[in-house]
C-alpha cells in the first residue's frame, strides 16, 4: 500500500519528490510515481498545495457506535501510597479536553488501602468523578491484573478518551488494555488537542525526536494515549467538586500469572533520573573515573540527579542506570547540564525535551551546542570548580 496520487489534480511540480524522507516519489515526464519504498508517513500529503496526494484509509472494521462513548479518563498512577506527578499533569490536560467536548473528567485509581486524601487530591486537580478499585491483588503493580481491571471499567463506563503517564508503569500495561479493548494507542505524546468531531489529536516525536507526528484513532474508542511526564502543566482547581465511586469488580479481574517476588526501591537517589527536576550529566570529556566527582559534587549542591553519556558508562565510570539517551533513559528535567558531552544524536534524543539545557564543552563545534539553551565554551576542569565556588559563595552571602 502506498500514498494515492490524483492525476487530475497533480501538476507534476515535483515538490513532493524532495520532501519524501524515503525517496519513494520519482518525477516522470507527465506524472509522478510512488514506489514500494513508501511507508505511508504522509509527509508528501502535507506539502502538496494542490491536494493531489492522499493516504489510503485506515481499517474501519465493523463500525463501532462511537457516540455511545463519553467522557475523558485519566489513569491515576498510584505507587506505594503516593500518586505520580504525571497523573496531576494529565488531569489538567484532560480537563481542557473534557471542557472542549462538554463531558466529564474522571480519574481511575487502582491500588490497595487507598487513602481518602488521595481521592480528594485528584478532585482538586479537576476530576469530576474518581473511580476507585481497592483490592489486595492491586497492592503491587502487575500488568495482567491492572489491565484487566481497567478493561472491565472501560466496558462498564465507556469513556471516549483514556490518558495515562508514559512511565514505566503506563508504558507497560496500557498497551495490554488497548489490545484487549481493540483500540488504537499512541505512545509518549507531548501534545494533545481535540478536533470539533471529537478526534483526539495526539502529537508525539518520532525518529528520535527528529520529526513530530500527529496521530488520530478515527474508528475505535476509547482513544488512548500515554503522555510524557513533565510536559503538561498541573493546575490545581480551587473549590472544584467531585465525587468518588467505589467499584467492585469480578474476582477474575485480579488474577495474574505473574508472581511479584521482591520490590527493591532504588537506593541511589541520584539515579532517579526520570523524576528529577535537575540533572547534571558527565561524558567522556571527564577523561577518568575520579573526575566524575565533579559532576557528583555539583549535583549534590543543587539537589540534582547524576546522569551520564553512553561513553562514560562504557568506560565504567558510572552505573548504566545513570545513562541518558537512546539506550538509556529519556529525561525532561527543568535543568539539564551536559558536562564534557559531545552531544551525539543518541544522547540528544534522551534529553532534548529538557526546559533549560546547559552545555559545558571546550570544542565550540560540539553538536551539544545546537540544543543548548546556554552553551559554555570552556575547559570543564577550569569552569566547573569556578561555577561550584560561585554557587557556594552566593549561598554564603545570602544566608
Amino acid at each position: 500500500m502506498k500514498a494515492i496520487v490524483d492525476r487530475q489534480k497533480c501538476t507534476v511540480c515535483g515538490v513532493c519528490t524532495d520532501v519524501c524522507p524515503f525517496g519513494a516519489i520519482s518525477l516522470k515526464e507527465t506524472f509522478i510515481e510512488i514506489s514500494d519504498e513508501c511507508t505511508l508517513c504522509g509527509m508528501c500529503v502535507d506539502t502538496c498545495e494542490f491536494g493531489a496526494l492522499s493516504l489510503p484509509e485506515v481499517g474501519t472494521g465493523p463500525a463501532e457506535d462511537l457516540a455511545s462513548y463519553k467522557g475523558v479518563w485519566v489513569f491515576a498512577e498510584w505507587r506505594e501510597g503516593t500518586i505520580h506527578q504525571v497523573s496531576y499533569e494529565l488531569l489538567s490536560a484532560g480537563r481542557k479536553l473534557a471542557d472542549k467536548r462538554g463531558v466529564k473528567l474522571s480519574a481511575v485509581l487502582l491500588g490497595h488501602r487507598l487513602d481518602q486524601s488521595i481521592q480528594e487530591e485528584l478532585v482538586s486537580y479537576g476530576a469530576d468523578v474518581v473511580y476507585v478499585v481497592d483490592h489486595p491483588e492491586l497492592a503491587h503493580f502487575r500488568d495482567e491484573a491492572y489491565s484487566k481491571a481497567v478493561v472491565e471499567l472501560i466496558r462498564q463506563k465507556k469513556p471516549e478518551i483514556l490518558l495515562a503517564g508514559a512511565t514505566s508503569m503506563g508504558r507497560s500495561f496500557i498497551p495490554r488494555v488497548a489490545a484487549l479493548v481493540k483500540t488504537g494507542l499512541t505512545a509518549d505524546c507531548t501534545e494533545l488537542d481535540i478536533s470539533e468531531e471529537g478526534l483526539m489529536l495526539q502529537t508525539r516525536p518520532a525518529f528520535g525526536g527528529n520529526i513530530m507526528a500527529t496521530i488520530v484513532c478515527p474508528n475505535r474508542r476509547p482513544q488512548m494515549a500515554t503522555v510524557r511526564p513533565k510536559v503538561m502543566r498541573p493546575e490545581k482547581m480551587k473549590d472544584h467538586q467531585g465525587r468518588v465511586e467505589r467499584m467492585a469488580l469480578p474476582e477474575e479481574c485480579f488474577k495474574s500469572r505473574v508472581e511479584v517476588l521482591q520490590v527493591i526501591p532504588e537506593q541511589d537517589q541520584t539515579a532517579k533520573l526520570t523524576e528529577a527536576d535537575i540533572i547534571v550529566s558527565g561524558g567522556r570529556g571527564l577523561r577518568k573515573s575520579e573526575n566524575f566527582s565533579i559532576i557528583e559534587e555539583l549535583a549534590q549542591l543543587i539537589k540534582g540527579a547524576v546522569g551520564a553519556s553512553r561513553g562514560a558508562v562504557e568506560e565504567g565510570w558510572i552505573a548504566p542506570s545513570h545513562q541518558v539517551g537512546q539506550t538509556g533513559r529519556t529525561v525532561a528535567p527543568t535543568l539539564y547540564m551536559a558536562v564534557g558531552i559531545a552531544g551525539a544524536i543518541q544522547h540528544v534524543v534522551g534529553m532534548q525535551g529538557s526546559k533549560v539545557i546547559v552545555a559545558v564543552n571546550k570544542d565550540p563545534q560540539a553538536p551539544i551546542f545546537d540544543v543548548a539553551t546556554y552553551g559554555v565554551v570552556a575547559d570543564l576542569f577550569e569552569f566547573m570548580p569556578a561555577f561550584i565556588r560561585k554557587i557556594k559563595q552566593e549561598r554564603g552571602e545570602s544566608s
Binding site: 500500500m1 488520530v216 505473574v258 511479584v260
Partner: protein, 263 residues
C-alpha cells in the same frame, strides 16, 4: 526450550538528520541497522542458550531487504530465521504489527519464550511486545534486565522501573522486553557468518499466517498519522564565551533569570 526473538530493521539514527533548509529528513547515507534494543534481546536469548538447551528463532516483519537483519542475527549464533514480508503489511501501526508477529509465533507452535527489545528507536512506542503478548495470551514483563531460567516452566526476572527494581516469577510461555543491562551484544563469529550466508530464510506472507488481508497493514490499523512536521528549533540559544570568571557570572545570572530550581 524454544526462544523466539522479534527484531526490527531501523534507520541508523546516528545519521538521521534534518536538512536545515527543507526541514525534511536527509536520507542519503542512512544505513539500516538492527534496532539496538533488539540486539540486546538476541544477546539475552544467546545467554540462555549458553546455559541450557535452547533453540533460537529470530523473526522480523519488513520489506525483503530486512533479510539482512536476520542474517546478521544468524551470524551471532541464532539458529533459525523467518522473514514476514508481504505488501499487505505496509502501513502497519503497532496493533497490526503485533497481530502479524503474534500469528507468526503461533504458527511456530512450540515457543516457550518470546524476547523483544524494549522499544524500536525509530518509533519509540514500546507497544508491540505487550500487545503481542496479549494476542498470544501470555504473561509478560517489560524493561527486563536479568533473566534466570528456573526450570522448564518458569523464569525469574529482574525488571528496571522508574522507582527501582522488581523481581518477578513468570510461567512459560511468556514474553519479555529487554533493556541494555541484559548484556552487550556479542559479535558475529566467522563460523556463524558462513552459516548465515548460506542459510535459506523462509518468507511468510499474509496467507501463510492465516490472516485476513484486512486485518494487517494499514487496513488492520486503528491509528493514522495525519500530519508530520519538523520540531520547532530552539531559538533562545545563548553562547557564553570569554574568561572563565565572566562565563561563570553570565551562566549564573542566566540561570537565576530562567528561575531554574536548585540555585
Amino acid at each position: 526450550m524454544h526462544i523466539a526473538v522479534c527484531i526490527k530493521q531501523v534507520p541508523d539514527t546516528k545519521n538521521v538528520r534534518i536538512d536545515p533548509d527543507t526541514h525534511t529528513l536527509v536520507r542519503q547515507g542512512v544505513e539500516s541497522i538492527i534496532n539496538p534494543f533488539d540486539l540486546f534481546a538476541v544477546e539475552a536469548a544467546l545467554k540462555i542458550k549458553d546455559e541450557t538447551q535452547a533453540t533460537i528463532t529470530v523473526l522480523t516483519m519488513g520489506p525483503p531487504q530486512a533479510d539482512e537483519a536476520l542474517r546478521d542475527a544468524l551470524s551471532r549464533g541464532v539458529d533459525d530465521a523467518v522473514l514476514l514480508s508481504d505488501r499487505a503489511f505496509a502501513g502497519s501501526d503497532t496493533w497490526a504489527t503485533s497481530t502479524t508477529l503474534a500469528a507468526a509465533v503461533r504458527k511456530m507452535g512450540d515457543v516457550d519464550v518470546v524476547l523483544c527489545g524494549k522499544q524500536a528507536v525509530d518509533g519509540d512506542t514500546a507497544q508491540v511486545g505487550p500487545e503481542m503478548a496479549t494476542f498470544l495470551d501470555m504473561p509478560y514483563a517489560t524493561f527486563v534486565k536479568k533473566i534466570e531460567v528456573l526450570d522448564g516452566s518458569a523464569l525469574k526476572i529482574s525488571r528496571q522501573t522508574d522507582e527501582g527494581v522488581e523481581i518477578w516469577k513468570l510461567p512459560t510461555p511468556c514474553l519479555l522486553t529487554v533493556i541494555k543491562e541484559v548484556g552487550e551484544p556479542r559479535l558475529p563469529s566467522l563460523r556463524h557468518k558462513m552459516r548465515a550466508k548460506k542459510a535459506t530464510i523462509p518468507v511468510w506472507g499474509v496467507a501463510d499466517l492465516g490472516l485476513a488481508p484486512e486485518n494487517v497493514g494499514l487496513s488492520g490499523s486503528f491509528t493514522q498519522v495525519v500530519r508530520v512536521f519538523s520540531p520547532p528549533r530552539r531559538t533562545d540559544r545563548v553562547l557564553i564565551q570569554g574568561p572563565i570568571e565572566e562565563q561563570v557570572e553570565q551562566l549564573f545570572r542566566h540561570l537565576k533569570e530562567s528561575k531554574v530550581p536548585g540555585l
